[in-house]
Symmetry: C2
Subunit: 433 residues, 2 copies
């Protein structure tokens, strides 16, 4: 079992008037809780990409021999850095490992055509020259406004300062550097033991809006010093992402820039994990999944304008896919989300969303709906014993579990989302101003 | 060509501060513009279903021999009246035509289980007794809050007052009686000539939220005095709905109660239309489609909190289905909708929505995006000649056309939607209070 370092995520007191400018029960990570990962150094700098004096550029330098695996957005309008990072990852040979990741905020470099691709390649080439590797050993990432040209000259000019700042202790600064509309940096760290060898897993993520990852969140980077083969690293990525970033939504908008990267520096004094069924690999995989889940939940807690953190448990389905489809229909419904914002147990809106989720042969007369421990719907209709006061009591909470029992099989899925508030509209109406 | 009666939809002046409590360029129908349809009488009454002294109950009485066809929501959690109306329509025999429709607002009678079905049947039975027909000659409809029990005793008590008020001139009162969060009644009327015989088409609709019809809007009723066979009436319904109600969305929430009904009283002095290719039938079909389109657009103009009316034209697709999928991805994106609310030409959000619409082999490098006449994106990237001031000028308008050209085929689709404003959140946070 991984050991969590530092404080648990704190439950902050909520103001009665739902001050939605603060995230839902999310604290800034304690810097002491973020463990360095041997073989991984991070440096940030202010490159004035969008705003002056804002640390907006991050370089993650990896020692030689690291393995890197990742997943990217399925958006057809994927950003130029996604195209280039995918290409560079697919070119890997054992003798030339990935040596650096470079991340900018303020500009997504998406919808920028051929020029955007050239800018992403130029960033890689310049960083490679500074680090003494080849351009294809660098992976580029961008986040920010879509369809604006990347100010590549400012990024290139900022790279030396990032390199000068490289340190293994810079995880919190890195989490801060990649924020856009996030109100708090997102990072998590844990330690586990593999055959008496201590191993560390540390990760960061960003994201608050345009969140409906279809592979990964806006940006997430997790590193471990464990030694893991390329194929097992890919398996760990798939396992973790399926249970973390692919289970969250804020607004149903899948970003052009989503990427999740898992780095294994291999610096721990252990032999390489290469058996997918070994308890050691499973322990590492679960630790990575847990870090990814904490990061993903942090994104929802910091969802744009969020005042509530909502877990959706869809149970008793025939397939996991149909459970996820129903869960996302609820999570994306503006009517459900505004009812949560108002703490109004107008729960028929949840039934409507279940009904239009696209499960064609669903027998709604078997359905049960629980709000935390309150049985609201039984046999597809209002539970005769349900009192609106009980629903209201749960709706007033800042953390709510909605449980839908389909009673047609054994599959299930759990998703996490937030409500839709005035602040979501304000934040996105004002984003570029 | 149908002749429109009364004023055209007026372009109202918009306040500079976007007073979103008023609909977008929509005026209340002039009562004189709503032509009576021979064989169709309407009566409304206040039954105190949800609020006292509000006319909330409507009876539409049809003369013997009318043909009725319709489509209903695809939501699996469809309301009890939808189940009963579908059943009664499917039971029709030539000697026992539909004689009445009964519509209540204030309670959707959805998510109400077996009791809800019994209430819908009781409503039909009581109205049938009063009108001297059988219960299966009555079609019930409800709209309002989901999962609350229908106050059937109040509805039954209100029926005699509706019958006492029956008149062919009551179309506007009927449109008012079925409103929920609508700010204005929605009705349209036109007249055409079929073989020298004047024929009338008049319709009403309601809806402002929970609008993403998957067959029809919340509720729409169109009547004509033309004589049309059952099968051609069904064909006209499909043609009209596909081009009107199924092309709109406000919030992407498909209602439990959607229904669109087309009534042909057959009272016009003409022989029955029974040839699907005859110019007379096509003229009638197009008139019905035009009335339905005006009603559907009125729903979007009165969309909850709407400040902008947005037409989405997706062109150059391989199939109409993929054009619709891309159009709805744009129309449902909260980020796109809030950018329109802010008049912010943050148009990369439109590209992101195109990219995640699920068209797997879309080559985005061929894409063009126009905002009215302004070419924003060419070859998948920002048009070098695009000036943000030009985008801003169009975004400031209250009516905007977004044109996406895919350049991969000849199919196209046009959809209509509105923006997402603070008032949408307020209206839906406060709906039941």
């Amino acid at each position: 079992m991984p050991v969590w370092v530092g404080q648990e995520v704190q439950t902050l007191p909520r103001q009665a008037d739902l001050d939605s400018a603060m995230p839902v029960n999310l604290a800034a990570p304690d810097p002491a809780s973020l463990l360095p990962v041997a073989g991984v150094a991070l440096g940030v700098a202010a490159a004035a990409i969008r705003k002056p004096n804002r640390k907006d550029l991050l370089v993650i330098r990896l020692d030689d021999g690291a393995n890197v695996a990742g997943v990217f957005t399925q958006n057809r309008f994927c950003a130029a850095p996604v195209v280039v990072a995918r290409e560079h990852l697919s070119m890997r040979k054992p003798e030339a490992s990935i040596r650096a990741l470079v991340v900018n905020t303020g500009c997504a470099n998406a919808g920028t055509g051929k020029e955007g691709l050239a800018h992403a390649r130029q960033t890689c080439a310049d960083l490679a020259r500074l680090l003494g590797c080849t351009p294809d050993q660098v992976l580029p990432f961008s986040t920010g406004v879509i369809m604006e040209p990347l100010p590549v000259e400012r990024i290139v000019a900022g790279l030396p300062a990032c390199i000068a700042a490289l340190s293994a202790d810079n995880w919190l600064a890195a989490a801060q550097a990649i924020m856009t509309t996030d109100t708090l940096p997102k990072a998590a760290s844990c330690r586990l033991t593999i055959g008496n060898v201590p191993v560390t897993v540390t990760g960061i993520a960003k994201g608050a809006g345009m969140i409906h990852p279809d592979m990964a969140t806006m940006l997430g980077f997790v590193a471990t010093d464990a030694r893991v083969s390329r194929s097992l690293l890919k398996a760990a990525v798939e396992h973790a992402v399926k249970r973390s970033f692919n289970c969250i939504t804020v607004d149903g908008d899948t970003s052009t820039n989503d990427a999740f990267m898992l780095i294994a520096s291999g610096r721990a004094a252990m032999s390489e994990l290469d058996d997918a069924r070994s308890p050691d690999f499973l322990a590492l995989r679960d630790a990575v999944t847990e870090v990814a889940t904490r990061l993903a939940q942090a994104i929802v807690r910091d969802g744009e304008g969020a005042t509530k953190f909502i877990a959706l448990c869809i149970e008793g389905g025939r397939t996991e896919d149909e459970c996820r489809r129903i869960g996302f229909a609820i999570a994306h419904s503006p009517l459900v989300k505004t009812a949560f914002f108002a703490s109004d147990p107008n729960l028929g809106r949840i039934l409507a969303a279940v009904g239009y989720a696209g499960v064609a042969d669903l027998d709604v007369s078997k359905l049960e709906l629980y709000l935390d421990d309150v049985l609201v719907v039984r046999d597809g209709g209002r539970n005769p014993g349900y009192q609106e006061a009980d629903g209201k009591r749960v709706m007033n909470q800042s953390e709510i579990t909605v449980r839908v029992v389909l009673n047609r099989g054994n599959a299930m899925a759990t998703l996490w989302t937030c409500d839709l508030s005035h602040d979501y509209v304000s934040i996105n109406a004002d984003y570029r101003s």
